[in-house]
Amino acid sequence: MINVKELDPRVKLTWCLFLILTALVSQSMLLNGVLLFCIVVIEIMTQKSLKRLKVPSILLLIVGSQILIINLLFGRAGTLLFSWTFLSIYSGFISAAIMGFLRISVISLGAIQFACDTDAMDIAQMLIKWHVPYRYAMLVPITARFFPVMVNEYKSICDSHSVRGVPCDTVIEHIKNLPAAMLPLIYRALRISNDASLSIELRGYGRYDTRSFNKPIEMNVFEGIAILLIIIAYISLILYTVFL
């Protein structure tokens, strides 16, 4: 299995931006299809399974069906196939929907891969290298650390509500219970952030203008070449789109 986590975050970010910008700029269904295929291949090569993409794929299919309906009702590309009162269906709605689906898939799955494969601390270091003050850059790993903590807090609040007769099993029930769950959740969040900020300050956070890292990021020659190649590929694509 390839350890993509070891790659410099700047390479991964460049690749992610390449995917997003290409999907936005390109009008080619084939190119978007190829990009999606690349994402899937990378996932298999690095994770040896597509398990991580399962939930996002289901959500994308739901979004895709919505794109299809919108294009069916409002799409005006191609020739008119059917018309009745306000409803007009044109032949181009399927290709427009597929294109929209591919774009959204490439953008979201590319971003998910970047977020999952890049250590939050590496992102912080990357931001520091771009001269973002470390007090702000460190917010990325701190958020990543407390996200699962807050999810667990929410789950325990839901458990306590459901034993008091407030059902919290389905999505609708969760939405209905949200106002009641928010108050204790906010209170817990405030308490945690208070404790955490005192704890980090007492461990010297903010004492100097810079801080060191136990695993500093360093870009090697191959990673530099990889970034260069991605940029060249993107510029070529733009030139191809503009001039041909």
């Binding site: 034993v163 008091r164 300050e201 007492l202 136990n214």
Partner: protein, 495 residues
């Protein structure tokens, strides 16, 4: 010789408060001292530590008339972010203090803030990992650690800073006896070998007294006295845990809970509990004891229907729990969580207590009467319109109990309700449970504290490594001493 810590506070007042939160405290602590701080709720124990870290007034704005010196420097003159050179501070909930995703990063956090080289960071972190024997989980995620492991990691992240003073605020309040004594042993070693001045706010556990050389007793914001451990033990010998003298009437014919070989596996095949055979009779006051992670909470969640058994069945009031009947069965039970803040969500105490009555077909007058009766029972009468967060943690636990009992449950499941409470607050909660038990309500109490189980329950069930291994009458506990020592629920403690 100059003292390591010198406290001379005439008054510490929070804005918009008339009363001083701390007053007339004069205390000198020598290098290498191991001080235990004790006192009732809101007596100023934690605040005393915050004056040493200088978090009060720098983090918690307040006015201090007096001085606090550490290593002969007035802490008021030291910025908070430089205090790590003088003191290391650790609080009760380790998960709130860890800000890195992995254990290694967490241990390196403080030293990295000191701008040390990569080599120096690695060397310090490795030394501390080896000292605390946590090398095995260096690359684990911090949110996946048990309470004891998390406390060790927090302690490690402070030790890497090499501060000459360690301040700990109830570090073992939520830990089981085994983990708690392990942590205290580490603290004693640090104090002895590294000559680190240590100050610990004591929780219910008396373990710290084995290692402390002085005890500071706080009362209403003042230092009542500073005693040697022997003097303290002689003076405060009385155990505030009074035996439950109320009758427990058990109906041997009626089963309230029955677990038939129930097991639960969490995601990824992690065992929650294994093949539990357990019956709870009507009127029983049963205590479930076991180490952290022994499967106690999983068992409770199976009984409450919050988890489904992956094997075996769970019956409540003679009916097997299914998705269809779970809400009906839950109306007959009450669940008291370890953290009262999980179940408190209304903006006034009255509203909180009366929450379950909403939508119930009964007169408004009747509802009000029930609310007032419940408030009186839990000792919160007259506080109706106050916000729940104005109460102390012990009072919030009583409020949570009130919000449960107003529904007149036949079974109350209490998951470590005294965790994080001091002895007096714990006793209040347990006495209420005992009163309810005397009224015929079946109680299932999960606790780490063997004496709570012994003095309040009529039956004790012991969980170890996800299995139910012992089930005996509470007054027969002495016969099981050896077995309890073997699974480290007792450690040289005389029960």
């Amino acid at each position: 010789m100059e003292p390591m810590i010198s406290i001379d506070i005439k008054a510490l007042i929070f804005p918009e408060e008339k009363e001083a939160a701390l007053k007339n405290i004069k205390l000198d602590i020598k290098k290498g001292d191991f001080i235990a701080v004790t006192g009732g709720a809101a007596s100023g124990k934690s605040l005393l530590l915050h004056t040493i870290t200088s978090a009060a007034p720098k983090f918690y704005p307040c006015a201090i008339d007096g001085t606090v010196k550490v290593a002969d420097r007035n802490v008021a003159e030291i910025p908070l972010c430089e205090m790590a050179d003088y003191v290391g501070y650790m609080m009760q909930e380790p998960q709130n203090q860890m800000i890195s995703r992995t254990v290694y990063d967490e241990l390196a956090f403080g030293v990295a803030n000191m701008n040390l080289s990569h080599g120096e960071i690695e060397s310090r972190v490795k030394k501390i990992m080896s000292f605390l024997s946590i090398d095995d989980f260096a690359h684990r995620y911090t949110d996946a650690l048990s309470g004891g492991q998390a406390q060790k990691v927090v302690l490690g992240s402070i030790l890497t800073l090499k501060s000459p003073v360690l301040l700990l605020d109830q570090p073992t309040a939520e830990l089981d006896p085994k983990t708690s004594s392990e942590l205290y042993r580490h603290l004693a070693r640090i104090n002895r070998e590294k000559n680190v001045t240590t100050m610990v706010v004591m929780d219910k556990s008396k373990e710290v007294l084995k290692y402390a050389n002085r005890v500071v007793v706080m009362e209403n914001g003042t230092m009542k006295e500073c005693l040697t451990v022997d003097d303290y033990q002689n003076k405060y010998r009385t155990d505030v845990r009074i035996k439950n003298n109320l009758p427990i009437r058990v109906d041997r014919e009626t089963d309230i809970v029955r677990l038939n070989g129930a097991s639960h596996l969490y995601k990824g095949g992690i065992v929650g509990c294994r093949k539990i055979h357990f019956t709870l009779k009507k009127g029983d006051f049963t205590a479930v004891i076991g180490q952290n992670g022994s499967g106690k909470s999983t068992m409770l969640k199976l009984i409450e229907g919050l988890l489904k058994p992956t094997e075996g069945t769970v019956e409540l009031f003679g009916t097997q729990i299914t998705k269809k009947n779970i809400s009906q069965l839950r109306r007959r039970t009450g669940f008291l969580f370890q953290n009262p803040d999980d179940q408190i969500f209304c903006s006034s105490i009255k509203e909180e207590i009366g929450y379950v009555l909403k939508g119930k077909a009964c007169e408004e007058e009747e509802k009000n009467r029930k609310i007032q009766d419940t408030l009186e029972f839990v000792g919160l009468k007259g506080w109706d319109e106050e916000h729940p967060q104005r109460l102390s943690r012990g009072q919030r636990q009583l409020l949570a109990l009130g919000s449960v009992i107003i529904n007149e449950p036949e079974l109350i499941i209490a998951d470590e309700p005294t965790s994080g409470l001091d002895e007096i607050q714990s006793r209040l909660v347990l006495e209420k449970l005992a009163t309810l038990s005397a009224q015929g309500i079946t109680i299932l109490l999960v606790t780490h504290d063997l004496s709570e189980a012994k003095y309040f329950a009529n039956r004790i069930v012991v969980m170890n490594q996800h299995e139910l291994i012992l089930d005996f009458k509470a007054d027969e506990i002495d016969e099981y001493t050896e077995a309890l020592v073997k699974i480290e629920l007792l450690e040289g403690e005389v029960v």
